[in-house]
C-alpha cells in the first residue's frame, strides 16, 4: 500500500492529469464568469499536455514533446481569441456573465 506513495510511476502523473482535467471541467460548469471559465479550459489543456508528456516519457518518444509544443502554442492562440471575444461581449452587454447570456435559445 505504501508503495503507492513511495513508488512514483507514470500512472501517478496520468491520474494527476486526469484530476486536473476534471477540476477544469468542474470549473467550466460552475463558474458564471466567462474569464474564469476560460481559465478552467486552460487547466484542461494543461492536463492534456501533462498526459502527453507522461506518455512521451513512457514510450521514450520525442514526438510527444513536439505535440506538447503544438498544444501550448494553440492554447495561447485560443486564449488570445477567447479574451478578445470576452472583450467584445463585454462591450456589447456590459458583463461577461454566462448565466445572463441566454438570448439565443429555443
Amino acid at each position: 500500500m505504501s508503495d503507492i506513495f513511495f513508488h512514483i510511476t507514470i500512472s501517478h502523473f496520468l491520474i494527476l492529469a486526469a484530476v486536473l482535467f476534471a477540476i477544469g471541467m468542474v470549473g467550466v460548469l460552475v463558474r458564471r464568469n466567462a474569464l474564469i471559465v476560460m481559465m478552467s479550459i486552460e487547466i484542461m489543456l494543461t492536463a492534456g499536455i501533462l498526459t502527453i508528456l507522461a506518455f512521451a516519457r513512457l514510450h521514450g518518444d520525442m514526438g510527444g514533446h513536439a505535440f506538447a509544443l503544438v498544444l501550448i502554442a494553440i492554447a495561447a492562440a485560443e486564449a488570445a481569441v477567447g479574451l478578445a471575444i470576452i472583450v467584445a461581449v463585454f462591450r456589447s452587454k456590459r458583463h461577461v456573465d454566462l448565466e445572463r447570456l441566454h438570448h439565443l435559445r429555443d
Binding site: I10, I43, I49, L83, V87, R91
Partner: protein, 246 residues
C-alpha cells in the same frame, strides 16, 4: 491586513521559488534513478527514491490546490494567481518527466504571456470581483457532476493500469537509438524533432497564430461596425459602446 489578492500574489511567488529551486533538483532526482528497470516489473518510470516521491506529492498538491483555487475564488486576480501557481508546479512536473525545454516554455508562455493577457483583460473589464457561482439548473449540474465522477472512475482505472506497462527510459525506445538518456527532452532534441518530423506542424502553427492575432485585433477593436444594429435585435447598444480602448 494583507488584501485578499495579496495571498495569491504570495502563493504565486512561492510557485516561482518552487520552480527555481526544485526544477534542477527534480531533473537530477529523476535521473538518479536506476537506468533500466527489469522488464515486466512494476518499476517506476522515474526511479523510486524518496526524493522523487516527496517532490511528486508536493507538486501534485500544489497543482491541485492551485487549480481548485482558480475555480473557487471570487476575486479574479486571485484566480489568475492560482492559475500561475498551478502552471509553475506543472512546469516542475514536466521537468520530472524529462521535458526540460517544455518546462521552460510552460513558464514562459503560460505563466508569462497568457497570464499577463488574462490580467490585462481583467483590467479592461474593470471588475476584479466575479459574479458568484452559477447555481441555476442545479439538478442538471448534479447529474453532470455524477457523470464526471463516473467518467473519472473509468478513466482512472485505465490510467492506473498503465503502471503495469514496462516502463523504459528514453534511450531504449527512441527510434534509431540515437538519443542518449541525457538528451531526451532537451532543447536540442525538441528542436531536432520539431524541424524534421514535425516541421509541418511547426509551419501550421504559424498560420494558426496569425489568424488568432488578426482575429483578436478584429474582434476586440471598437470600430465602425458596432454602429449598425439589426432592427430585429431591439434597442441600440448602450453608452458602454465607447468603452475605453485598451
Amino acid at each position: 491586513m494583507i488584501p485578499r489578492s495579496g495571498y495569491s500574489a504570495i502563493a504565486a511567488l512561492c510557485g516561482a521559488v518552487l520552480v527555481f529551486f526544485l526544477a534542477p533538483g527534480a531533473a537530477a532526482a529523476a535521473e538518479s534513478g536506476p537506468p533500466a528497470p527489469p522488464p515486466g516489473a512494476p518499476e517506476g518510470a522515474l526511479g523510486n527514491t524518496a526524493a522523487v516521491a516527496l517532490l511528486f506529492w508536493v507538486l501534485a498538491l500544489a497543482t491541485v490546490a492551485g487549480a481548485v483555487f482558480v475555480i473557487t475564488r471570487r476575486n479574479m486576480v486571485a484566480g489568475v494567481m492560482g492559475l500561475v501557481f498551478t502552471f509553475f508546479a506543472v512546469a516542475v512536473l514536466y521537468a520530472m518527466l524529462y521535458a526540460h525545454f517544455l518546462a521552460v516554455l510552460q513558464v514562459l508562455v503560460y505563466a508569462g504571456a497568457i497570464m499577463v493577457l488574462f490580467v490585462f483583460v481583467i483590467m479592461i473589464l474593470n471588475k476584479p470581483e466575479d459574479e458568484p457561482w452559477a447555481l441555476t439548473g442545479l439538478v442538471g449540474k448534479a447529474i453532470a457532476g455524477l457523470a464526471l465522477l463516473y467518467f473519472l472512475m473509468r478513466l482512472g482505472g485505465v490510467l492506473w493500469g498503465v503502471r503495469e506497462k514496462p516502463a523504459a527510459s528514453g534511450a531504449e525506445l527512441s527510434p534509431g537509438g540515437t538519443i542518449q538518456s541525457g538528451d531526451f527532452g532537451s532543447l536540442a532534441e525538441v528542436g531536432r524533432v520539431l524541424f524534421s518530423d514535425y516541421v509541418f506542424a511547426f509551419e501550421a502553427i504559424a498560420l494558426i497564430l496569425l489568424s488568432a492575432v488578426v482575429g483578436a485585433i478584429t474582434i476586440a477593436r471598437p470600430g465602425s461596425g458596432s454602429s449598425s444594429q439589426d432592427a430585429d435585435e431591439g434597442a441600440a447598444v448602450g453608452d458602454g459602446e465607447r468603452a475605453p480602448d485598451a
